[in-house]
Subunit: 142 residues, 4 copies
């Protein structure tokens, strides 16, 4: 199977994300730093409000980044349909994340007519040493 072809450019995708969420959470959205067929890479620079006990980046911060990256890779390939909604999300936390940039690599496992399934991997310094791995399922507008 050839990877699906994006229908949006990186800048338009970033604008779509910013427009879709309230300005108060823009700092937690991260930004799109790469977009290729079937894949999006996002980068988040977590602030001190993202920390949990142990000075680690909190689980909800990571889950938020997973969710946005999955949303981004879906919209990049189906176009601006903000009503795509998360149907389920499973995340495995693998290592503590420190107060440094967190990258999210989101890859479409399947882009179906009704559902999209996305693999998302979070990492900090090295794309092979994962902070977390997640799978998200998005329900697509009919």
């Amino acid at each position: 199977m050839a990877a699906p072809v994006p229908v949006m450019e990186m800048d338009a995708l970033q604008q779509l994300l910013l427009g879709a969420f309230p300005v108060e959470v823009h700092g937690r959205l991260g930004r799109v730093v790469d977009l290729v067929p079937g894949r999006v890479r996002m980068r988040l620079d977590p602030g001190p409000e993202s920390l949990r006990p142990g000075n680690l980046v909190s689980g909800p911060t990571q889950m938020g980044l997973v969710d946005v990256a999955a949303y981004a890779v879906v919209l990049a390939h189906i176009g601006p349909q903000p009503m795509a909604v998360t149907s389920s999300l499973t995340i495995n936390f693998l290592r503590g994340a420190t107060l440094a940039p967190v990258f999210a690599d989101a890859a479409l496992l399947k882009l179906g007519r009704r559902l999209a399934t996305i693999d998302v991997r979070l990492w900090q310094h090295d794309a092979h040493t994962l902070v977390a791995q997640a799978t998200a399922i998005y329900a697509l507008p009919a």
Copy 2:
């Protein structure tokens, strides 16, 4: 099996949660409204910054509440050990949540020596009409 007995009171538990997280996120933590053997109920009053397209309470807001409620029910039964960390979390979003209080009912499925497994159900107006169901696994400090 008898349900495990809490070792903390509700007020002390709430103070522990507030102390564990940065003040910037206190508005997203919710508060403990009930504590019985094996179970904690939390309530979150989401603000406009919690919304996603469609004026629905965002997935990350719901995942944050799940994570805090799971953390709360674990600490309520093992005492103030803030270094308990989420190992994995699976959430199924069942219905859109509107801008109204969201309740989280967290129940210990198993409190082991190394891992705790928690069922969390989110609802808004009626405890039987679920907004989301989640399962979290916490790794416990040795």
Copy 3:
């Protein structure tokens, strides 16, 4: 929300399950022992071929029972539509299961138009001491 009302009787449901699967696996299907609104209980008597190292009932045996119980509670409430298919399944193994009857309590969390979400709990001697907890999502025929 009132629990959904079953549209099949227990005997018809059992016959439907037996007819849907090859005779070679009938011994692994278990049988329906209770059916009430929103819920089905199944019982499996595992044989020695179900064991894994440590003389414990194997994970795949447990996952098979979860899948059948979820399928049974869905069909009990939508009628004989064998083409309902599992979309995703998450299982948490909580305690070793020994060579004794395993019960599966399957409860509909949501019966939607396109998806059904089901909570399944496995236990052996006491319904409160769980062997495993699982969540399954079934995609329903259009």
Copy 4:
């Protein structure tokens, strides 16, 4: 991070799997067809007893293969410790699988001291067109 180095050869691994499970299920175990640092590939030739309605390979058959492949990649890297047990497993079914060989590519996401997290992808004719994606967590003997 360099991928972890296997400590077993392919033949010894296959013998270990056969020895660990009852002879009645050997036909459902599949066999190891590739082993490289951090990864194992298995192949299962499903029989008619593996079918579910629609003449598709059943979910439990696929989950069994996922579980064995995850077990195999763990043992390949920690050596013959049959008491490694599945702690949790999440599977997303992406496309129907027909009565043809099913391959399972299992990759270690993290091999920790107490837990191993494994990504498993099932496919039939083309490694890029997935039948299912799964994540398994194994608890390792102390």
